[in-house]
Symmetry: C2
Subunit: 443 residues, 2 copies
Amino acid sequence: MGKKIRIGMAGCGVVGGGVIELLSRNAGLIERRLGTVPEVTRIAVRHPDRVRTLSEAARNATFTTDPLALVDDPEVDLVVEVMGGLEPAGSLLRRALEAGKPVVTANKALLAEQGTALLDLAEQRHTDLYFEAAVAGGIPIIRVLREGLSADRVLRLRGIVNGTSNYILSRMSREGMSFEEALTAAQAAGFAEADPTLDVGGGDAAHKLAILASLAFGVHVDLSRIPTVGITDISAGDHDIAQGFGYVIKHLARAATTESGELELSVEPMLVAKESGLANIHGAMNAIEVESLGLGSSLLAGPGAGSLPTAMSVVSDVIDVSRNLQAGAQGRVPPRAYPTDAMEGASIARRDDAWARAYLRFEVEDRPGVLGFLATRLGEESVSIERMVQRRGAGDPEHRASVVMLTHRANLGAVTRALRTVSERKDLVFSAKALRIESSDSP
Amino acid sequence: MGKKIRIGMAGCGVVGGGVIELLSRNAGLIERRLGTVPEVTRIAVRHPDRVRTLSEAARNATFTTDPLALVDDPEVDLVVEVMGGLEPAGSLLRRALEAGKPVVTANKALLAEQGTALLDLAEQRHTDLYFEAAVAGGIPIIRVLREGLSADRVLRLRGIVNGTSNYILSRMSREGMSFEEALTAAQAAGFAEADPTLDVGGGDAAHKLAILASLAFGVHVDLSRIPTVGITDISAGDHDIAQGFGYVIKHLARAATTESGELELSVEPMLVAKESGLANIHGAMNAIEVESLGLGSSLLAGPGAGSLPTAMSVVSDVIDVSRNLQAGAQGRVPPRAYPTDAMEGASIARRDDAWARAYLRFEVEDRPGVLGFLATRLGEESVSIERMVQRRGAGDPEHRASVVMLTHRANLGAVTRALRTVSERKDLVFSAKALRIESSDSP
């Protein structure tokens, strides 16, 4: 019989309700594995009268409208924060950690903004801050980064961490849908919010990348330093052309160490080789590929969202923290991730300094000399072309054509400059875009 | 500054040497994350004089020829067993756990045979038995099963857990090699042993499945109860035909709960849908797909073998156990996996009671009536045919043909009986084989 664990829960919506439901439904096996079933004794919600009936694991819970009251309550051993938002969640976490009370949270926005400070605080107070549910709920990536790779050096990570964007790209790529059609389908399937900006604009993925990169490399990642491009500019034609070259377009969050010891970060649609692991992640699935010095490359894939996987990740964390409480071993795994020697004091690389192969697509006036013009401008910026294809779309007017080029490894700043110069000739070039091609080589 | 951790290591071959090397090379980051660098103070090997120079983490190590001496040594806090084999490794583990000394091991044969008893012993003595390196060294599957899924019910797991077999099948499938050519290539690439029986015969995969299934379902799995078929009977033609139907042939270790609450286990080559996650695991990679009630389906993929990933997994376990020692929290995660209510007292399903779709291939005399004969015999056993193709191989004699059938869901015992009856007509049927088709549906 293990020591009793009493949970104070802030927020009681879909995820919070799911946590209570899982603790009740799986009580038998949790009791066997933990020696007790954690009980929700206090719940902080704005409108206690609106909470629906709660199952067994919260049968004796009392309500409060003040989340901070959970911290001072002697009947609370562990705080579960599933209210979301920066405030009052931030104040709650600070107060709980300050008081040495362990916290389990699913709040990615808060962690992306203040994660480093909160983890430092947990470390100072020898307590636990767990947040598996905040990033890719169905994939135990936080556990793997904090514990599985505790003696290894991460070299690169890249992931599909937004289920909505991946759902949209998958349907465009596999069924030829337009972006708008695929977005409508995602909304109908319940994957996309009414306002999908945070998903398709890349903001949500950037939040997750900030959390992952700070854990993987032990350095603080400032959210505003992550170059972020969404998927709204990708057309069905891009998917089609990419496939012809043996690639799939995926929205990747990536972080990699550079040769000069900097950290390169980005969230953007990229071309990945058809037979790679990430290219075969379809629909609303998430996946994260980690490359480390000792283990090499590993891929973790699973459901990215959904209230059940998220609630399940919260419950796993609750059990882990409960074990620490029972053993008197709070802070057993250092909350703060420490950088390796190589990353100590590492700075974030400037986007324009990065090198990669690129996919360039130009909509041009279909007349002699255009290709020469494009090639000359690219050449002036030392962007060299590996492959080229010219084609006319089904509905395109007579005099228009698409020119697509795959470049050799090039400086991305130079690519941006070349596209800018090219676009100045509005009589010849109607649009120009560049997507990065992900290299499968080690960084 | 964390409490000092002193390791007694049994065995000092490639993996043991790798552990010492990693502890030395990553000393800086391990010290930051653990507060100390575990030191190897005692090494048990048969021939101490043959051990090559050891690096920093073992600079003060003394040698013994008696592994059991590690347990009684007060200078040893933690035993690392990387000697392999059933004895004296088994005695060493029993003695260490009996004395309450935590153990990290990479010994899959020992765990497959005696895992349940050893884990029970660790549990009784409130100590730790960690073994991430024993199964799919580069994939943190043990951690995920024991901790990430601690509040979930696993419904099914299936994996590619033998890198050699997957390397051979990949080359056959992608390059049209024969089994013999691919095996030679695997040996040349250093993936296959001189005697590859344990790999290509499925024995190694069965060891790993016994360990995984007992952790996932909390029940003891008797190695001898796992129906095991190797890959030696798969031809380049099978790969070719499977691909034509949209499948890839993979050697899978699988465990699933059945509707009647039994556990179904097998190691065998199977047809898996081309676009599934497991179909896209190439070369010597390993992958394990876990389906659980709460999280749904997740896939973990990574390097399956190699001394560096294996040593890295041992070191991760050493750090985990060290954290428990420092926090006085040995046995923090119950060593023994407890079954869910659904699996309590579950028995192993008989192979012949299983139902699945199947791929059947007959080499037959090419004359009228043969098809009718095959179809009649299958019909008599209620095996119904979904698709059929007849073809003649390039080098086949004039009068021979291959008949390939994909069946609807059928009882596998009935399939076996039908193949037996069919094979009795030696004048018509030269050979008959059946491969199971893996369903992507939930179990």
